[in-house]
């Protein structure tokens, strides 16, 4: 069970795959390898609906990457704690039961990880979005910080992993 999960939300339909492409790019840029093995896992979720809950279960920190439409310029990134999420957030869903609804259900069932962060990326026409590389450059330091904060919490990094880190296993 990976304590940190980065989930790209979307679908293969053109324009709805922004969360996927960002997650893929972060993975290709070496996000999981930046931390001790087994700490961070990146997954692409195809319109998970309520199945977002099992995808997050057991994690200490979940970072959701999803398209958003709130009227801001395309490419604007909005970082939200799940506690801030409400109906006006503008997260997109190609089905009615989207991320906001799944998180509300998880809250009602007390079935959520301790921390869920949503990176909503304002979408628009594909041509009006900044290059993915620029978006990843923008997201990278914040996401690294989010994961570092999580790793400082007691019990997140197993003892064996901690000693490996101290002996120079992975750069933090």
């Amino acid at each position: 069970m990976n304590p940190v999960r980065v989930l790209g939300i979307g679908s293969p339909v053109a324009g709805d795959d922004l969360g996927w492409r960002l997650a893929e790019t972060l993975e290709q840029a070496g996000l999981p390898g930046y931390f001790p093995a087994g700490m961070v896992h990146v997954t692409l979720c195809d319109r998970p609906g309520s199945l977002l809950l099992p995808a997050m279960r057991g994690a200490r920190l979940v970072i959701l990457l999803d398209a958003m439409r709130s009227g801001a310029p395309p490419g604007t990134v909005r970082r939200l704690d799940m506690l801030e999420l409400d109906d006006s957030t503008g997260l997109l869903s190609s089905h009615g039961f989207g991320v906001a609804e799944a998180l509300a259900l998880g809250r009602a069932l007390e079935d959520l990880p301790p921390r869920v962060l949503i990176y909503g990326i304002e979408t628009g026409q594909a041509t009006s979005l900044p290059p993915l590389g620029d978006l990843v450059t923008l997201l990278w330091p914040t996401i690294i910080d989010d994961i570092r904060v999580c790793m400082k919490e007691p019990g997140v990094v197993p003892l064996a992993m901690e000693s490996k880190q101290k002996s120079g296993g992975a750069s933090l």
Binding site: S11, P12, D46, R47, G49, S50, L51, L53, P54, D87, S93, S94, H95, G96, F97, E101, A104, L105, R107, A108, L109, E110, D111
Partner: protein
């Protein structure tokens, strides 16, 4: 005096009806003058997309029509194409396709019961509200839905738009160890599914008997999924190849979806129609579970659809368990196809009802012409008839909000899969 009011409602629950709908009501002197359910049916576009495509591409293309019932589209397609080629994939493929389909019924029905329908009958506006009062029920429903998805992923490689099915069988056969592990999960879910039948029957469902014709597949030995003849509650019994003769489609100006009728009348497809026509094909434990409820099937109460869905979940788990028992790996997971020209028909039971396909193929197996009739198109006229009956029974003098709530509940009860695009039902009431 003319009083005209327009109401636009944002209805989050209806968002989970899988699409967009608009309802126009015109009331004259307290009588319903006009009722139009306007819906948009994306599968129509696919028929043209399929033309010129190789037969091997069809299962993966039609899986894209729906994120909730891709297996149904794949199964209707492969059976139609195999019909043209004269291909008989054999008992292993037949059995595993049935398990694959069980997975879809389990996930789709669990989703509808818990996330869409049950909040209506318990007085909640959505499942999150309902979950606070019924956490264990919702958890059980989510677990069943996840298991259904797992079965689809097991054969399809992924649960949304699966890619494991092909003409002639599957791309891969699971190992005995994998099957044993899946069967354990299926077995473990059975008590919950049986309890779900009782739970749905205990809901305070409206008592609203109506006169309607049920249409479903019927198989000589088993509850219908992939095979059978098309039968109706008023005596129709035809081959799937004769569907077009008996079920003409017509266009209504207010809807992009075609209407289908039987003897110029609306008819019902879906779980309640299937159950009404195939009670004797259920496994004994499911019949016994239904017998312990206070509901007599066949039923003329459309709101008993939720109980029928629960019974089909129970059935699908028992059937999957039966079919996976004594599993052995086949020598090959598919039978190679040799293309030839001709017309083929496929008709299977999607979670929402009869899904009929016809393909005209050339000698290389390329699609010359395709025709797809999804269940929601077939139920469209029935939904309108039900709305008319239900709203008149409720009383057209009720305020707009009450009429809208009733209309939404009626529509949701059919689990229509309209499109996956928008989030609003717009209801316009015009009173004179």
């Amino acid at each position: 005096m003319t009083q005209s009011r327009k109401i636009s409602l944002c209805v989050p629950v209806l968002a989970r009806v899988e699409g967009e709908g608009a309802l126009d009501l015109e009331v004259h002197d307290g009588h319903l003058k006009t009722l139009r359910l306007r819906i948009f049916e994306p599968p129509r576009l696919f028929e043209k997309f399929l033309e010129g495509r190789e037969y091997q591409e069809i299962p993966d293309m039609v899986a894209r029509i729906c994120g909730i019932c891709p297996v149904a589209y794949q199964m209707s397609a492969v059976h139609a194409i195999e019909g043209v080629f004269g291909l008989a994939p054999g008992p292993w493929v037949r059995a595993m396709r049935r398990v694959f389909y069980c997975g879809e019924w389990i996930q789709s029905h669990s989703l509808h019961i818990h996330l869409l329908a049950a909040p209506d009958f318990l007085g909640y506006s959505n499942v999150s509200e309902m979950a606070r009062a019924y956490p264990d029920v919702v958890r059980r429903g989510l677990a069943l839905q996840a298991l259904g998805n797992e079965i689809i992923r097991f054969f399809g490689g992924r649960s949304v738009h699966p890619v494991g099915a092909r003409v002639g069988g599957f791309h891969r056969a699971p190992s005995q160890a994998e099957v044993a592990a899946l069967r354990e999960q299926v077995w473990a879910a059975l008590p919950g599914a049986e309890a779900l039948v009782a739970w749905t029957a205990s809901l305070n469902l409206p008592d609203d008997p109506q006169d309607f014709v049920s249409v479903a597949l019927r198989h000589p030995d088993e509850y219908p999924m992939n095979e059978g003849r098309i039968v109706s509650s008023d005596g129709l019994d035809i081959s799937i190849a004769d569907y077009e003769t008996h079920f003409p489609e017509h266009q209504e100006p207010h809807s992009t979806a075609l209407y289908t009728t039987l003897n110029r009348r609306p008819y019902l497809v879906g779980p309640l129609a299937r159950l009404n026509l195939n009670l004797d094909r259920l496994h004994t434990p499911v019949r016994e579970a239904l017998g312990r409820t206070n509901i007599a099937f066949p039923s003329r109460n459309m709101f008993h659809s939720i109980v029928a869905r629960a019974a089909e979940i129970h059935y699908a788990l028992l059937e999957a368990s039966r079919l996976l028992e004594d599993y052995t790996e086949p020598e090959a997971s598919f039978v190679p196809a040799v293309p030839r020209s001709g017309i083929g028909y496929g008709c299977t039971e999607a979670p929402r009802g009869l899904l009929w396909h016809r393909y005209d193929l050339d000698t290389a197996g390329q699609v010359l012409h395709a025709r797809i009739v999804p269940p929601t198109s077939q139920n469209q006229a029935r939904i309108e008839a039900d709305l008319r009956h239900s709203l008149e029974t409720l009383g057209l003098d009720r305020d707009d909000e009450t009429l809208c709530q009733q209309a939404e509940m009626v529509i949701r009860n059919y689990d229509p899969c309209i499109s996956c695009a928008t989030h609003f039902l717009t209801v316009r009431v015009e009173r004179r």
